[in-house]
């Protein structure tokens, strides 16, 4: 019996729904669900926390025992993977193609060439070049049973794992309970309602400085929202301010990227891919999103 104080999640009742909170994937996680009894909310909280933790442990770059770490320590060898890992990597690979190579989970190592502490920097061009040679999903061999990276290459699922966790947690809770629900991991969220009960959840889009009022309000019955950016990490090169989003093809930060991009889509994974790819377009973020026909919000 887990005591109240040592439980990793909390469950409380709001007017017409229950609120489950915990911390995972370096974000405050909140689930709103319209179940009827406290016991149901408790059960679902445990389910949600277990699933979120499971995905975090499996795909976190920071944990030595994670699948991602095992892959990154492969050193050129063939690393066996399970079906879920294969599906997620395959998804990332398809996004690489759909985004014309801008979305690339092997581009994480480029961060070794940059420090975004707000100061003037002189980029090491040789280092950037040598790191660029280790970037490129086309250099990865992926099969249903295994993955092979070239020595020195690394994958970082930070750009897909949180959105994937939102989708999986939401779908799992819905499939087991059929209650209307919304899963929100630090601004990446997904709402699912059965067709027979359609009451919207109200979501506010925070302004970058967080202190002032929400800059937008979304009423979401069914669908997802993901936000890219929202960080104050930047640097100056020759007096020009550059944000922290790195273009995998050039190795340099994207110029004139919006401060944050929020996209509405059917699933959090889709919304996340679209918002990240939009950020990487820099100046063309808005026209990219308009061409996709999605509802979005860019803050510059």
């Amino acid at each position: 019996m887990i005591s109240e104080e040592s439980r990793p999640f909390t469950v409380r009742h709001a007017d017409s729904h229950w609120v489950i909170t915990y911390t995972a994937m370096a974000s405050p996680c909140q689930i709103l669900i319209r179940c009827e009894k406290a016991s149901e909310a408790e059960e679902l909280a445990l389910l949600a926390f277990s699933e979120t933790s499971r995905i975090e442990q499996k795909f976190s770059r920071y944990r030595n025992d994670s699948v991602v770490s095992q892959i990154n320590q492969g050193g050129g060898r063939v690393v066996p993977i399970d079906d879920e890992t294969y599906q997620l990597l395959r998804f990332a690979g398809e996004c690489f193609v759909l985004s014309d190579r801008l979305f690339d989970i092997t581009s994480g190592i480029l961060r070794k060439a940059w420090t975004f502490d707000g100061r003037e920097v002189t980029p090491d061009l040789q280092l950037i070049e040598s790191l660029r040679r280790l970037v490129g999903w086309q250099k990865v061999k992926l099969s249903a049973e295994s993955i092979t990276l070239r020595p020195g290459m690394e994958i970082d699922l930070g750009g897909v794992a949180k959105e994937y966790a939102v989708d999986k947690t939401a779908q799992m809770l819905f499939e087991s309970s059929h209650f209307p629900l919304m899963v929100n991991f630090g601004g990446d969220l997904r709402a699912i309602s059965p067709l027979s009960i359609r009451r919207p959840w109200d979501i506010g889009i925070e302004s970058p400085d967080r202190a002032s009022r929400p800059v937008g309000l979304i009423e979401l019955v069914h669908g997802a929202v993901a936000t890219s950016g929202v960080s104050y990490r930047h640097c100056f090169v020759k007096g020009k301010r550059l944000g922290h989003i790195l273009n995998p093809l050039t190795g340099w930060p994207v110029e004139n990227a919006p401060q944050s991009v929020t996209v509405l889509a059917d699933s959090c994974s889709e919304a996340g891919l679209l918002s990240t790819t939009a950020m990487l377009q820099g100046e063309g973020a808005e026209s990219f999103l308009t061409a996709q026909g999605v509802t979005y919000h860019c803050i510059r």
């Binding site: 389910l47 277990s50 699933e51 779908q171 799992m172 809770l173 499939e175 087991s176 309970s177």
Partner: protein, 77 residues
């Protein structure tokens, strides 16, 4: 007597299935429904095709029923 024996076997089988299901010996936890959610893992997902098949067999064979109703609606048997 044979009917009674058949009935008892059927009930015993169903009772076993229900008890196993209730105790969780068979069945899945909520977070294990990923594969089961696929359309090919739903019974009656190709409903139309199987029901056309059943109609053809109903008019050419003596047996009917099983998957669904075995009754009327057609003069072909």
């Amino acid at each position: 007597m044979k009917q009674l024996w058949r009935g008892l076997v059927a009930i015993a089988f169903l009772a076993m299935l229900t008890i196993l299901g209730g105790c969780g010996v068979v069945g899945v936890k909520a977070w294990q429904r990923d594969i089961l959610a696929r359309p090919e893992m739903q019974f009656d997902n190709h409903l139309n095709n199987r029901s056309i098949d059943d109609h053809v067999y109903f008019s050419k064979e003596a047996a009917s029923g099983g998957r669904g109703f075995g009754g009327g609606g057609c003069g072909c048997n």
